[in-house]
Symmetry: C2
Subunit: 201 residues, 2 copies
C-alpha cells in the first residue's frame, strides 16, 4: 500500500526558527538544562531536524497519588544532578498532602523532523545510543514529532500520607541507588553525544 505523507516545509521552517530563538533565550535566562545544550545544538544543526523540549535526566520528589499523574501532582523537589541524603530527608520530612514518590528519569528529547527519512535518521542514532524506547509520537503538517527516550526510570513510594514506606534510616541506601540510576541516564546521553560525533563533555 503506497501513500504520501507531507510536512508543510514553510510552516516547519517558521516553527524551527521560533524554537531555536526560544532555546537561545532560555539559555541566556538560565532556564535551559546545561547538561544537554550541546546535544540539542548538534541535533538542530542536522538537516530536517530541530529540538522542541528536553530533559537531561533528573531526580524529583512528587506529591501525588500516583507517580505518572500530572494534574493534582506537585513536584516538591527537582534536581538534574546527584542528590544527598540530607536534601531528600529535609524535603521528605515536610508533611505531604498525598503520597510522596521519589522519581528518577533518564534523558528525554523531543525532536521535530521534516520528513520520515529525517525522523528515521535520528531514531537510528538514538537506538544506537541505547535510547531504545524512542519513537514517533505524532505526524502532522507542522512536523513529525520524535521522542528520544530510554527505559531508565525509578518510581519509588517513599511515604503514603504520614507513613514512611521506606523509613528515614534506609534513605542512604535508596539515595545511593537513585544517584546510580540518574548517572546511568546521563551515560546514555554521553553515548548519544558519541554517535552524534560531539564527544563527551
Amino acid at each position: 500500500m503506497s501513500e504520501t505523507f507531507e510536512v508543510d516545509e514553510a510552516l516547519w521552517m517558521k516553527r524551527r526558527d521560533e524554537f531555536l530563538k526560544r532555546m537561545r533565550e532560555d539559555l541566556e535566562i538560565g532556564y535551559l538544562d546545561h547538561d544537554i545544550v550541546d546535544v540539542l545544538e548538534a541535533i538542530s544543526s542536522m538537516p530536517g531536524l530541530y529540538t522542541q523540549s528536553s530533559c537531561s535526566g533528573r531526580i524529583t520528589l512528587v506529591d501525588a497519588l500516583m507517580p505518572w499523574e500530572r494534574e493534582g501532582a506537585t513536584v516538591v523537589f527537582k534536581k538534574h544532578s546527584t542528590v544527598t541524603v540530607e536534601e531528600i530527608e529535609y524535603v521528605a520530612t515536610q508533611p505531604a498532602s498525598s503520597r510522596l514518590w521519589l522519581v528518577v528519569t533518564g534523558p528525554i528529547i523531543h525532536v521535530s523532523a521534516l520528513s520520515l527519512r529525517h525522523a528515521d535518521e535520528i531514531l537510528r542514532l538514538a537506538r544506537e545510543a541505547g535510547m531504545k524506547h524512542s519513537g514517533i509520537l505524532s505526524m502532522s503538517k507542522k512536523g513529525i514529532i520524535v521522542e528520544l527516550t530510554s527505559g531508565v526510570r525509578v518510581a519509588h513510594l517513599l511515604k503514603d500520607g504520614e507513613t514512611w514506606v521506606t523509613p528515614p534510616e534506609k534513605l542512604p541506601d535508596l539515595v545511593r541507588v537513585a544517584n546510580e540510576a540518574l548517572l546511568e541516564g546521563k551515560a546514555r546521553l554521553d553515548r548519544l553525544r558519541e554517535v552524534l560525533g560531539i564527544g563527551r563533555r
Copy 2:
C-alpha cells in the same frame, strides 16, 4: 517535503496470518493473558492492523541491579492480577543475588499497521483511551510497528542485597498502592475496550 512510504502488502498479509495463527495456538495452550484477548481480537479485526505481542499489565518482582535491565535480570515473581502481602513477602524473603525491585506496569500492545493511515487510526483510539505514551517504534517493508502504552509504572526498590529498603512490616502499605496502580492500568484497558466499541468485560 513530499515522500512515499510503502509497506510490502503481500509480506504484511503473510505475517498477519502467521501472527493470528500463533495467537490462536497461544490461547489454546493457555500462554495468552486472558485479560486482553478480546482487545487483541478487536484490533486484529480492523482493516490494516494486527497485534503482535501484548501484556494486560502486571506486578513483578525483579532481581536486577536496575529495574529496566533485561540481561542479568531475573523475574522471580509475575502476576497479571492483584497480589497479596503474603505472596510478595514469601518471595522477597528468599535471598536475592542483586537488588529486588517491585515493578508494576500498565497494558502494552504492539500492533503492526499496513500504512501510516492505519497506524494513525489506532494511535488516535489509544490516546483517546488515555494511553498517552503510544507511538510508532519502527517502519519497514514488513509493517509499521505501533506501541500502545500508558505512563502507568511503579519501579520500587524493595531490597538492596540483604538490606530491606522497605521493611517487611511496611509491605501492606506498598502492596495496597501496587494493586491500586495495577488496577489503574487495567482501567485504561477498559477505556480502550470502550473506544474500540467492545464494551467492558
